[in-house]
Structure formats: C-alpha cells, structure tokens
C-alpha cells in the first residue's frame, strides 16, 4: 500500500545532545516552517517529537538525548514556560522518566474582591465524563478557568506493555469507545508498518467505511449536545434520532453498534456477512440521514436565538492557537487548515481526496459550521464507499498474521496517523526486537491536545451562561485525555 510506505520514511531532523533549550528552539523552528507536531514521546532515555511536513508529506523526528541528566536539569528553564503547550499533557509522563526535572506548570492564582469560585465536577451535568472545572467568576464573566483531570486514569499505555499485539487489542479498542474504530485503525497501521503487512483493497475500503460511519455518529452526537446547550430540545431530539439510526445501521450491517473489534492487524474481521439487500437499505438510510441532517442544520441556521448564543462565544485566542495548534474540527474552526486525510492520506483517502473544511472565526459558531459541513462530506463519502464495495475477498489470513506478530518486527517504531472524529490521533508502537511484545506505546489523542485550549477560550470575555455552549462546541472526550 502506498500509505504504508509514506509514513515509513521517517526523516530524522536531528539529534540534539546538548541543552534542552536548544532542542526546544529546534522544535519551534520546525513549527515556524509549518511542520505540524504529531506526537511528543519520552522513551529510552530520550525525548522525541514527531512532526509532519504537510507539503512534502513527510514525517520528521527530532530527538533529544540529555548528556548527563542531572547537570542539564539543574541549569534549565522550566520546560512548559518555554511556550510550546503540547508539553503540558506529556509532563507527568516525562516527569516519570526523568524525576530530576523541575516542572513548574502551575497555573496563575486568581484572587481579589468580588471573585467567586465555582468548582464544577467531577459529578456534573446529566450524563458526563469525570473532569473538574474550577471557574473563577467576577460578576457574570468567567475570568479564569482551571481544569483538573486524572480522575479516570485507566493507564492504557502501561497496561499494554509486555503484551503481544493481539493481547493488547481489547484494551486499545476501549481507549475511547466513541472513536474506537480510529484507535484500532491507528494501532493497526502502526502494526502493519512495523511488520510490513499489506492490506487488500477491499479491506482498506471497509476500514474507511467504518471510519466514516464513526465520524458520522460522533458528529451527530456532538451537534445534538450543542443544540440542547442553547435550550433547543427539538433539534437535539432530531439529531439523537439520526444518531440512533446510524448506530442501528452499524449493528445491522456489521454486528456492533460502535463497530468494535472489526479492524484487526492485516485487515478487517467480520463475524456477520452483510447481504446485498442490506447494502441497498443502508444506502437509503444514509440518504435519509443526509437529507434530514441538512434540514436540521438549515433550521438551526435560521433560528436567531441559536445563532445569537453561538456567535462570538468561546473564541480561542490567536496566541493559544499558535501555541497549542488545536486539531480536528476545533482546530479547523480556528483557521488551522490541517486534516490528516488530506495532509497524509491513509487507507482509501488516497483515492478519495478530502478537502479540509476551514472557518476562521474560532468561536462556537465556527465549530458548529465545521461539524455540519464535515458531516455532509462524511455522509456522501460513506455512500460512495458502500456503493464501491462489492464482494469481500479473503485477503487476510488472520492466523498467519497473528503468527507473524509473535515474531521480530521489521521496523521500529511503527507509526499510525489518522484523523479521528475529534482530530489528529497518533500511535507510536515500539515492539520488542525478538519477541514482538510491546515494549512501549506512545499515543497522542486529539482530546489531550485540545483540552489545553479550553481554559483560554472560556476565560475570553464569556459569561457563565456561555459555559455549556462552549463546553458542547468543543465536544472533547475525557477518556481520550485520561487514558
């Protein structure tokens, strides 16, 4: 496969053996040239950052090896203050690798007359994941927001160490269920790169179909939450109904509502063989969803009370966009024109090119617009893929692949880079050179990165009543952050 070869050619931008600050400067220089940061990883006594050059379709790696850890740390400035915000979520991880490193990621203390604190969470809203917001409010305005996560760490990355690939699979697919197709796809791509396994075109097509179906479900759910956050239960119910419709379609065609356990190393694994009649029915269902979702969206776009709440709510400040480089619909709504499906096409996106949907205002309205447009694109693409998909070949010999994965890999690390519904998702897999057991797994989820843009967007001249709208417009998952 063409996509397999693409990311295999990792270009080493350089290894820095000197000061930590020098390495950070090299990283910043990379970013200034338009290289997107993919993954920050601390492994094997070195710190590396993987980047993607979208123009050259090339993956770069910038490594830093501390010459003598103790002396370097003592002299160094606090890393997270240097201005590259992706490090913040990697801090606990890096701090474990080098305990001597002085981290100072403390957020500023807000004090003063008339400042009230609202602790919100971890038990909050109706059905929500556990995370705590600490809102500092003056009058109606939110002046500072702190986020506390870590309530629900399941230590996925620690758990898979020492396991064979097939043993790690059940854990990886449960990293975040609402994007489990993309998690397994990224892992599968990483495995296939490490062992140099090729995937048959039909299986590639099906993988793309699963990915698009998952994006459809995710976007429909996010739009439903956004609609009700502005006090409009009718569009919420209509979106939820469409979401349920697609979930039932998933179940009827492939046997699982969230398409779990379908993507395996080397291809896809179907326990249920869809009938031709069902495909026709599925095409009609997707057409219905397309029609009705456009109808709801145009209804919302003609509802002044909805638009009034969204316009100008939760604008991500330009400085935060530059530092964090938010990914996915959140990033594209802030003018970051980056979509892995276009920048580094994988699976069937090679033959079905995608144009990123970009908005520049960076507010809740822009995020709504991007989701609505991406939903239509995904629905059309899913229909095209369903139509293209004719007969399933028996390309994957599961037993043979499984046997292979218990042996030495050809390359290490294997990288899997995909565009999950919430944005860039990267898996970096380091298998053991003889046994093939997982030595180290690095994961960068879109939520890990995008959460660090939330506090700034909220404390940007918004009032308390905007909180649920901004929260819903980001639609981030906590399990992807706390994995």
């Amino acid at each position: 496969m063409a996509d397999n070869r693409l990311a295999q050619e990792v270009f080493f931008a350089g290894t820095h053996g000197g000061e930590y600050g020098e390495w950070l400067q090299a990283w910043q220089a990379e970013r200034a040239e338009g290289i997107e940061t993919l993954l920050l990883d601390a492994h094997n006594q070195s710190l590396s950052v993987w980047g993607l050059d979208p123009d050259a379709h090339r993956v770069t790696q910038l490594v830093w090896r501390p010459p003598s850890p103790d002396s370097v740390w003592a002299a160094d400035p606090a890393p997270s203050r240097v201005g590259i915000r992706e490090t913040e979520n990697a801090e606990p991880f890096i701090a474990r690798t080098w305990p001597a490193l002085p981290w100072s990621s403390g957020s500023p203390v807000v004090r003063g007359k008339g400042v009230f604190f609202y602790p919100l969470g971890p038990v909050r809203a109706d059905v929500a994941e556990s995370v705590e917001y600490r809102l500092a409010v003056m009058g109606d305005e939110m002046i500072h927001v702190d986020l506390r996560a870590g309530f629900k760490r399941r230590h996925v990355r620690t758990l898979v160490v020492g396991r064979y690939i097939d043993e790690a699979w059940p854990v990886v697919t449960r990293f975040t269920t609402t994007s489990n197709v993309h998690h397994t796809l990224a892992m599968a791509l990483a495995v296939e790169k490490a062992w140099d396994i090729s995937v048959s075109p039909t299986h590639t097509l099906l993988r793309t179909l699963f990915a698009e179906l998952e994006r459809i479900v995710s976007h429909l759910g996010d739009l439903a939450v956004l609609a009700v956050s502005t006090g409009l239960p009718l569009p919420q119910m209509e979106y939820l109904h469409l979401k349920e419709l697609v979930l039932r379609l998933n179940y009827r065609l492939f046997g699982h509502r969230y398409l779990r356990d379908l993507i395996v190393p080397g291809g896809v694994q179907l326990t249920q063989w869809p009938q031709k009649a069902d495909v026709t029915w599925a095409l009609n269902t997707l057409a219905t969803v397309y029609r009705q979702s456009s109808d709801i969206a145009s209804g919302l776009l003609n509802t002044p009370s909805f638009l009034d709440r969204l316009h100008g709510a939760g604008v991500i400040p330009a400085s935060t966009v530059a530092q964090v480089r938010p990914v996915g619909p959140v990033g594209r709504a802030s003018g970051v024109s980056f979509d892995v499906r276009q920048a580094l096409p994988y699976v069937a996106y090679v033959s079905h090119p995608i144009q990123p949907c970009v908005e520049t205002s960076g507010d809740a309205y822009a995020r709504f617009q991007v989701r609505v447009r991406e939903l239509s694109v995904s629905l059309s693409l899913a229909r095209i893929l369903l139509e293209e998909w004719r007969d399933l070949d028996t390309g994957v010999q599961a037993a043979r692949v499984l046997q292979m994965l218990k042996g030495p890999p050809l390359y290490s690390p294997g990288l899997g880079i995909v565009e999950a519904p919430r944005g860039l998702l990267v898996y970096g897999l380091y298998p053991h050179k003889d046994s093939g057991r997982i030595e180290h797994l690095a994961v960068a989820t879109p939520s890990m990165r995008n959460w660090s843009a939330v506090p700034e967007a909220m404390a940007n001249h918004n009032i308390m009543q905007d909180f649920p709208i901004i929260d819903a417009s980001f639609s981030l998952s906590v399990s992807g952050w706390d994995g």
Binding site: D126, V127, F151, K152, R174, T176, L234, P235, E244, Y251
Partner: protein, 201 residues
C-alpha cells in the same frame, strides 16, 4: 425557523419504540437476554412514577455514556416510564455508575451515594463497573463497584445497548427485568460475561 419541524412531528408517527413493554423486533434484536443480572433483589417499597437518575463516571471509555445518553432520544424516551436525569444527587433515586471505578473516583462515588436519600438503588452499568473488564489489572483501578457501595443490578455489555439499560433500570425498580420478546441461545453478553469471569491473567 423551527416551527415547521415542530408541526411535522405532530402529524408524524412517533419514533419511540414500545420496547420493553411491547415487542419491537429491531430493538429486541439489540437486547441481550443475559445482560441484566439482579445482584440483590431490592427490598422494600420504591418509587414507580417518578424516578430520578444520577450518573457517575467512575473511569469509563465513554461508550457506556453514549448509550446512556441515548435513553433521552425519541427512540427510547425513558421519560415515558417516569425516568429522568438529575444534576443533584440529593434528588436522585437511582445511582448509575459506569466505568472501571478508579481509586480517585471512589470518594466521589461514595459521597454521591451518601448524599442520596433513601430509598435508593444502585446500578452498575457496563462490564467495566461489574468486574473491571479488560482494565482490571491496571494500576489505580479498583474494578468492582460492589466493593465500594452495595449494588442491586448489574447490566453487562460493552457497552450495553439502550434496550438493555432500559431493562436494567426496570429491574432496579421491580427486582426482575421484563421478559424479552425473543431469545435465541446463549446471548453475546452472556458469553462476554463468562469470558471475563473465566479469564485469568
């Protein structure tokens, strides 16, 4: 303008399934005869008309939340049985816990449980909350809700479908899940549950 949608829904047939009080083949196919286990048969009188649910995420992968959230959708509409979500534990009658129950969430779960007034019931939603599922051996994971607070009903599945969640909530009130309109052999959830119990790592 949303008025047209509103009018259209008045004349249209409702989306809502009659399940579990009426057979609905589409939804019944997604339900699992082995999913709902009553752990302790709830004792004493309980509300039947207006039951408020409080959900706590004890470390889930958000699959269970996604399905639980669909209970409000027009397809399942749990409010026709009197269920509703409440933001405050003090108003809640049933505590629904999802996820593996991490050590960090134990005090939160206990506090939420204690804030609820009697009579109250607890539902463990998803195989994770029942016995930790694939995360049992992870550091900082307790893995069993019943080691933290008393549990009346377990709903197995990964994630359990909204149909199973409805039946489980029913069991939390009545002590028994409503009978399934159809069953064919050992269910997927039953097998999954056995798999978890039998697996030793």
């Amino acid at each position: 303008m949303y008025y047209w949608h509103w009018l259209r829904h008045i004349v249209r047939r409702p989306f809502t399934t009659g399940f579990p009080t009426e057979p609905d083949p589409t939804v019944a196919r997604m339900a699992d005869s082995g999913a709902v286990h009553t752990v302790t048969v709830p004792e004493g009188p309980f509300y039947r008309r207006s039951v408020a649910l409080r959900h706590v995420d004890g470390g889930s992968c958000n699959g269970c939340e996604s399905e639980l959230g669909l209970l409000t959708s027009p397809d399942y509409d749990f409010s026709r049985y009197g269920f509703s979500f409440t933001p405050s534990p003090k108003h809640a009658d049933i505590l629904v816990v999802t996820g593996v129950v991490t050590e960090a969430m134990i005090p939160v779960i206990v506090a939420t449980y204690e804030q609820m007034t009697a009579p109250k019931r607890v539902v463990a939603l998803g195989t994770c909350a029942i016995d930790g599922w694939v995360f049992r051996d992870a550091p900082g994971v307790r893995g069993r809700l019943d080691s933290v607070i008393p549990v009346q009903v377990n709903i197995a599945g990964c994630p359990p479908t909204p149909a199973d969640i409805l039946r489980g909530l029913w069991a939390a009130i009545e002590g028994e899940p409503p009978p399934l309109p159809h069953r064919d052999g050992a269910s997927h959830a039953e097998k999954q549950y056995e798999l978890v119990k039998g697996e030793s790592r």
